[in-house]
Amino acid sequence: MVKVENLTKTYDKGSIKALKNINLSVEKGELFGLIGPDGAGKTSLFRILTSLLIPDSGTAQIMNYDCVKDYKEIRKITGYMPGKFSLYQDLSVEENLTFFASVFGTSVEENYYLIKDIYTQIEPFKKRLAGKLSGGMKQKLALSCALIHKPEILILDEPTTGVDAVSRKEFWDMLKKLKKEGITILVSTPYMDEASLCDRIALIQNGEILSVNEPQNIINQFNRKLFAIRASNMYQLMQDLKRFENLNTVFLFGQFVHFTSNNREILESDIYSFLELNNHSDIFIQEIEPTIEDCFMEFAKVENSFEKH
């Protein structure tokens, strides 16, 4: 469905490398997630796929249409939702939807079944101007507008950024329903916890793809013991753990510090005694299952050490 080969994109005459030799393929009907922090290159990749940008080198194809040469075909089969809210704020919900339907040469009625579940949630506000909607409702409207022409592929750039937790969950439920309609969905997000909701994910950082796999497989590849640690003085805890022998990664994760060691046989008690030696109190240590974020940190670390050498 989507095929990206050796794709490179730079800005400002090559001084900023947004994408470095990226390879990616997405199957038809897949819900594919592009996971990475801000500035990783997600938006650049999506803009190339939607024919809005021209890559420096490499190719990108959707359904065998080249994203540069066949941009006209590409624009017929894609539904695109940019990262920034891009509907007409001075038009009402209803007017926005009707406008985008007619721009794509269809009508709201024709594909109503596709957006029904989403649209019924914002329908009570259909006379309200789009600019006056809440964040979650804006995204639902934007999704409706991107869907109204029944695209083959839906490209969503950070649709859940700045949206409350409840709306985020609803949004992902909708994506799952759309997947059942046979629409291929390519979605990017900086939220690692959303990764597990995708069929397959690509971890991306600094314009490079760290790993592409099913979320569970990525977690399974994590072959270290992971500890969640807490103590009364969190700042000192971080500083001390950084001095730990055989340290692999240590980073703050909510109320805990996540810690991995190069010593795969390490035990909770080893860490405990080290911390006690450093006068920490209220120490809590537990070995836990890794999340996608832990995997991301692990991959990112490997990637960074390659860069340094």
């Binding site: 803009r47 891009s86 007017e95």
Partner: protein, 368 residues
């Protein structure tokens, strides 16, 4: 067709829901034309005068009556001492004072010579000049009447006729210029802002990733402004005709035809500006400096091109409003038909085609 209709409808929503746009579109033309018509005036009418008639005879009465009967002057008060004159000037009651000398009629008959002193308020020198020349002209015409049956040896008289605007009404000169300015503003500035607004808000990104062709986006975007600009042209002409009694000597349809050509030129300019900018602020600044100032200063609207330094005169060759103002002035005031103004129209047409071509070529189908 359906796409186009939806696009135009959307554009009208934008226009009607934005108070600022509405104000510029409909409020400004009316205000501009009224301002130029009433405030900036180079003609005189009902000038307040005071008369100190020291002689009070038949001749001075006649001259005073002639002055007041002309419609240019209005008698505010009769005075009988010098002090009063300066007070009246200071209070701003009068703009001119006339003093007839003693024994005016007698002097005229015996010495063939009599004096009138004219005192004017020259804090506005142009108006003062006009007042003096109007007064002198009226007095002169009165003396000519007196001399009608006398034979004066060897006299050269100049007689001037102001063709096409015989009453020197300045509003007639301002209407064509104001039309050019408003059409530039509405067509070029507002369209460039309307297009860059889509870029700024990110909606252009969505429009580009749709099956709309570039030409459909452009035409859909500017079509409403064509309609509104034509309404503006008609409003201005109607105002000029009804309030300022401006005669339109030539063909009204030719006038509107040339105006539509100019509207297209301005729209193309607006699109061109929007292709080189990404935000509304810049688009507005460019429109202001690159379009409005030349339209006001270099088009012959306010300052005659013939009086400019040579370099500026050459520069006016590339200023489209110059040709437009030329053409419609001829149509309105001289009643010229196409065979007289075809040169101006041809230049405008060529400029329009080049600009349309350029703006379509430069309009980006992508984000960079």
């Amino acid at each position: 067709m359906n796409r186009f209709k939806a696009f135009v409808r959307k554009e009208f929503y934008h226009i009607f829901r934005d108070k600022r746009t509405m104000l510029i579109l409909f409020g400004m033309p009316v205000v501009q034309i009224l301002l130029f018509g009433f405030v900036i005036t180079t003609e005189i009418k009902d000038v307040e005068i005071a008369v100190w008639d020291k002689s009070k005879d038949e001749v001075t009465q006649n001259i005073t009556n002639k002055l007041l009967g002309s419609g240019y002057f209005k008698l505010v008060k009769n005075i009988d001492n010098e002090q009063e004159i300066y007070e009246a000037f200071k209070k701003g009651e009068i703009k001119e004072a006339l003093i007839f000398e003693n024994n005016f009629s007698k002097n005229l008959n015996t010495k063939n010579n009599a004096d009138i002193q004219i005192i004017t308020d020259a804090s506005d020198p142009n108006i003062a000049n006009l007042i003096v020349s109007y007064t002198s002209a009226i007095v002169y015409s009165y003396t000519s009447e007196l001399n009608a049956n006398l034979k004066i040896p060897m006299q050269i008289k100049t007689e001037s006729t102001m063709l096409y605007n015989s009453e020197m009404k300045s509003v007639f000169m301002f209407v064509p210029g104001t039309m050019a300015m408003i059409l530039m503003l509405v067509s070029a500035m507002i369209t460039s802002i309307a297009i860059t607004r889509e870029k700024e808000l990110g909606t252009m990104e969505v429009l580009l990733v749709s099956p709309l062709k570039v030409s459909q986006i452009i035409i859909g975007k500017v079509a409403p402004y064509v309609v509104l600009s034509i309404i503006n042209v008609i409003t201005i002409i109607a105002l000029a005709m009804s309030i300022f009694h401006m005669p339109i000597v030539g063909s009204l349809s030719l006038l509107i035809g040339v105006s539509i050509l100019f509207i297209f030129m301005a729209l193309a300019l607006g699109i061109l500006i929007s292709t080189v900018t990404n935000d509304q602020q810049t688009a507005m600044m460019i429109s202001m400096f690159a379009l409005m100032l030349p339209t006001i200063l270099l088009s012959g609207f306010i300052f005659p091109i013939e009086n400019m330094p040579k370099i500026l005169q050459w520069l006016t060759i590339i200023i489209p409003p110059k040709y437009y103002i030329n053409a419609i002035k001829d149509i309105m005031l001289k009643g010229s038909d196409l065979s007289y103004i075809w040169k101006d129209v041809a230049v405008l047409l060529a400029m329009t085609l080049i600009l349309i071509g350029l703006s379509i070529k430069k309009f980006k189908i992508r984000l960079e």
